[in-house]
Amino acid sequence: MSAAATTLVAAKPRGRVLGAVFMGYLLLSLAIGFALLLWLLVDIAATGLPYIDRALFLNDPSADPAIAGARPAILGTLYIGALLLVFTVPLGVGTAIYLEEYADKERWYNRLLELNIQNLAAVPSIVYGILGLAFLVRGLGLGRVLLAGAMILTLLVLPVVIIASREAIRAVSASIRQGAFALGATKWQVVWRQVLPAAAPGMATGSILALSRAIGETAPLLLVGALTYVAFNPSLLDQFTVLPIQIFQWTSRPQEEFKVLAAAAIIVLLAILLSLNAVAIWVRNRYQKRW
């Protein structure tokens, strides 16, 4: 064998062991999250599934775990979810259109606006609760009502909706805008008739995912007073509770029976979030590639 040929075959496989160890670390990094998620789901399902019954959906909360249910909390979550869609979508899409189509990026106030939104997306949720406590509950005198909760969650997820909507708008090809402008469309006609229809699926997906984040939020609602005994169906200007709060309350009770109820309520909450995500995926697949 000539010397030249042997150089292609390393005498000892350089770094092979190290490579395998590294690969193991990378795979572990990925797997650990999924493993914990699986553990969590199996554990909660095993604990909670037997307690998913009519009482959970129909009864009011009670000091007696045998008859306690989560009806006001479930309805409260659905009610708040609907309000959130009504509040966040116009505000979020409107801001996104302003930033992408109208704002002059050279202006300091528009850059500040952008930085502000990026930062708001990372402000701890409990801080939004403080804002709600100071201004909505006490300042405005709204009290600890459902509307205050919905408003605070709106502000909380607004940055997420804005960021997702901006991405959807940016994905609309510039050539479509040019074509519409060249036909004598005004700016708003271009936005309303071309950009928005093309960006709608992306915006819808982003908004639904943001909604599902808001529905799972607990901390800010603790401060606007959702942790309270509610034995009636929710309405706009009444005290209220939602599923995450109910879960928190049951989890923090020392009795084992309530922890079991918490697990059952978690299953209901996760089911709601899962269906929202399914809707988001469906919307994306159904409308994204239509044309």
Binding site: G19, L26, G33, W39, G216, T218, F248, A262, A263, L273
Partner: protein
């Protein structure tokens, strides 16, 4: 020819266009108003608070007992509690988040990557109260079953579970940064006979370092600001300790626990919520702005 008289002028003023732009700008103003509202909401009662409690006592006091007589307002136990939980979260989230990012960016085939990325995001989509339940009801008893001397409420359980929750945050921002590294850099290293491990660790990670650091900082910021896991699993006992298996109270947990009770407006307990909230807000704001700067930096370099 005058027959073709051009009609270049506006024949009707387009008021609508201006109205629309104004309405959209108003939507954008909501975000500005939110920030102003947050700052105003925090500042006013905080200033009143610091008229009653000196800044020095607040930041150097080692005793947090606002409801005791005499009340003591040393915030250090809350800060240490927060850092203790955050520490364990970072210990989990940073190495595993970075590992996941390297795998997704450098090793996974495009199809695998496209499936894994959203799957990983599911971890961040589980409500925090669910993680809190899991940490308290499942994870801590599991640690005890291993024979560890763990209190029911402890910083370690809360931190570890929080860390797992933050993995997607670290992974997705780091992966974005690694993706922005030009292929030519990798090709250059391969051409010099490097293997994949060397290219990943010696070329891609250093080139993407500002984005990776940003992901760590944002991860830390999330851990510092996370409420429910800390409230449920770390406890509500403000003690100055770094012992992982002891209960601690984080700043967020204190705010939540105090806010739950119907504290009278204007009372000193009411104002502590805002003083601690302001401390938390300033800490996370500094981290967020730093991270945003770093992200912009790598975007400028490679895009």
């Amino acid at each position: 020819m005058q027959a073709a008289a051009p009609r270049l002028r506006v024949h009707r003023r387009r008021w609508g266009e201006g109205v629309v732009k104004g309405a959209l700008a108003l939507c954008a103003l909501v975000s500005i108003a939110t920030t102003i509202g947050i700052v105003a909401a925090l500042l006013e009662p905080s200033l009143e608070f610091f008229r009653e409690v000196s800044l020095v006592d607040f930041f150097s006091g080692t005793d947090w007992a606002p409801l005791f007589e005499p009340a003591r307002f040393g915030v250090l136990p809350l800060i240490v509690g927060t850092l203790s939980v955050t520490f364990w979260a970072v210990v989990v989230a940073v190495p595993f988040g970075l590992g996941a990012a390297i795998y997704l960016s450098e090793y996974a085939r495009p199809g695998v990557r496209k499936a894994l990325k959203p799957a990983l995001e599911v971890l961040a989509g589980v409500p925090t109260v669910v993680y809190g339940y899991f940490a308290l009801v499942t994870f801590t008893p599991f640690l005890r079953s291993l024979g560890l001397d763990v209190q029911i409420f402890n910083a370690f359980s809360a931190g570890v579970v929080m860390g797992i929750m933050i993995i997607p945050t670290v992974a997705s921002i780091s992966e974005d940064a690694m993706n922005a590294v030009p292929q030519s850099l990798r090709d250059g290293a391969y051409a010099l006979g490097s293997n994949k491990l060397e290219v990943s660790v010696r070329i891609v990670v250093p080139a993407a370092i500002s984005g990776i650091v940003a992901s760590f900082v944002l991860g830390i910021s999330r851990a510092v600001g996370e409420t429910m896991i800390a409230l449920l699993a770390a406890g509500q006992l403000a003690q100055l300790t770094f012992v992982p298996f002891e209960p601690v109270e984080t700043m967020t947990a204190f705010i939540a626990a105090t806010g739950i009770g119907d504290v009278p407006t204007g009372s000193i307990e009411y104002k502590t919520i805002f003083a601690v909230g302001l401390t938390l807000f300033v800490m996370t704001l500094a981290m967020n702005l730093f991270a945003i700067r770093l992200v912009r930096k790598y975007r400028e370099v490679y895009e």
